[in-house]
Symmetry: C2
Subunit: 335 residues, 2 copies
DNA sequence: CTGTTAGCGCATTCAA
DNA sequence: TTGAATGCGCTAACAG
């Protein structure tokens, strides 16, 4: 068993208060005594037990990070941003990845507890009213990233506008038959991402009087493979779309694969726009909607620290910009 | 402030011992009393303070996960595997990402402490003797993943053999001029990855009497962009290699980019083999050395739990297999 | 300047 | 079956 503060005190022939004082510089200590204490600490290889310290201070020195869709490059990039700030702080990080709806429920119920964490960052999850109850009730400083809520500080983006802009661009190139590939509109986490991007897609079409063709919208798991299958269906339609807007870059890669499978030339026969601008989008020369992934993590944690320092702070909602990055998967439609 | 066990006891008109008993089922409780306690718990929305519990039990219920190169898809896949097991357990996860040599040092010194964590998984870092001192000394159950050490349980793979096999395959196709692109042989973390894969590369060449051409070996940061630059140098050599073995899939993508830049046909003018078999390798149709990334995380945590249940367990080293996955970036050399 | 003491919230032993 | 007391390791207030 590791040495405790008592062992150090005994060896240095002082009281534990003195040891604590040199540990935390909490009050002046005679130089001679300090040396003795330091020597004892070194000799015993003493490190203060963090649990004891936490209990005494009533703080956990721990930030909770809740993150779904963890396998996707976009989420990892967000987490990296968050970790970059966290690593420079005095806080430890408690990581909760959520893969299933039941995990989501359990985590959102049990994680937001004073005594478990001092602050919480929740990525890409829109709290329900019930979730909110648990969070607010427990009174632990919380920030949402890539989510919006009228009662919680958050870092968000305008999915509707971003999607609208992407589709507008396709329309501007001359496309009329534009497909959309997304996650299920009602996914198991109750996310709004697909709905919002679909809304932007519809808005852009309506604006110029292009009717919404339900056959042009495919929903399914957000994997490359599923996107490939969905694209195959789209391209086998009697009147296939000449452009496809994908909910994410990962899906856009699946679209590219499908085009390759069918020997459809991108961008001359088929234009493709993705979403996120993950690292690999550059490699794939993908036209895509860039969002500030890394930055969102950075700002989320920074905002959390602000809130923790000033719990009575008025609600702060930061909107991060998006930007259409045109590369080489978009061109005017054939013919 | 949240309710404590005392509040519950008072409201239920029992002692705190009784509350603790119903919380933990640690001793029989009269059904009537139990009901009262449960009611009080519900009414106060009481959740046991984990710090108090930790201090009392002398356990943190916390597993430390140390992970470098966190931005790379391969590492994320390892972490995902680890999280899948951890999420099913009763342990919380404390995440430490290491980006710099100084972070590495600090983390390896301060994280392995009883009282901070109950167990530790370290990914892809070979402890020095000094690191080892801190780890062993503190006596916290530890498992290495993608690293080997004579005194620590570990999950590893045979980098030398895997690299040798990859280069052998190229030789079998008829290649004689084979380039190798890697991380710095002496990277800031003291990693062995590049050295081992280089060794395998050399062994394969020597076996068939091909001289090692130092110009064919490029070292640099493990990013797509750096790999692209290094490949450009390689391909501009008076006698450019006809095949390139890359230290990682991410680098292999950079090699592909360089080939594209120079209008070099892959695989007919240039063969490429990567390493890892990350998700995107499939998309890029990359021939690569598959290692069991997700599995390594799973097994690492499982092994850790074994060790925690049986601290006196004899040293266990598990070698995970690798496998050459042939896709469409390899072919016989031109001419 | 420094030793002693009283909690922090909980699990657990010891009595009853 | 239960309440009261003890201690986990630490910080901070109190008293010298």
């Amino acid at each position: 068993m590791p040495a405790t503060i008592h062992d150090v005190a005994k060896k240095a022939k002082v009281g534990i208060g003195t040891v604590s004082s040199v540990l935390n510089n909490s009050r002046p200590v005679n130089e001679e005594t300090r040396k003795r204490v330091l020597a004892a600490i070194a000799e015993l290889d003493f490190v203060p037990n963090s649990t004891g310290r936490r209990l005494s201070l009533g703080k956990t020195h721990m930030i909770g990070v809740v993150i779904p869709y963890f396998s996707t490059p976009a989420q990892v990039e967000r987490l990296r941003g968050a970790m970059s700030v966290l690593a420079e702080s005095d806080y430890d990080v408690s990581l909760f990845t959520v893969e299933t709806a039941s995990q989501r429920k359990k985590i959102l119920e049990t994680v937001p507890h004073r005594g478990r964490i001092d602050g919480l960052v929740i990525f890409s999850l829109n709290p329900t009213e019930e979730d909110l109850y648990h969070i607010i009730q427990k009174n632990v400083p919380t920030v949402l990233v890539e989510a919006k809520h009228p009662n919680l500080h958050n870092i968000h983006l305008d999915d509707v506008a971003a999607a609208r802009e992407a589709v507008n661009y396709l329309i501007g190139l001359g496309h009329q038959k534009i497909g959309f590939i997304s996650d299920a509109l009602n996914d198991s986490f109750g996310s709004h991402f697909s709905r919002n991007r679909y809304k932007g897609y519809c808005q852009a079409l309506k604006k110029v009087g292009i009717p919404i063709n339900p056959n042009y919208h495919q929903q399914g798991k957000v994997t490359r493979e599923t996107a490939r299958q969905m694209t195959l269906s789209l391209l086998k339609l009697p009147e296939p779309p000449t452009a496809i807007f994908a909910y994410s870059d990962v899906q856009a890669l699946g679209v590219l694969e499908a085009a390759r499978d069918l020997n459809v030339d991108v961008p001359n026969q088929l234009s493709i726009i993705g979403y996120d601008d993950i690292e690999i989008a550059y490699f794939a020369r993908l036209t895509t909607v860039r969002q500030q992934l890394y930055e969102s993590g950075v700002k989320g944690v920074q905002l959390l620290f602000e809130v923790m320092n000033n719990p009575e702070m008025p609600l702060k909602c930061i909107q991060l910009p998006t930007q259409l990055v045109v590369r080489q998967t978009t061109a005017p439609p054939p013919g």
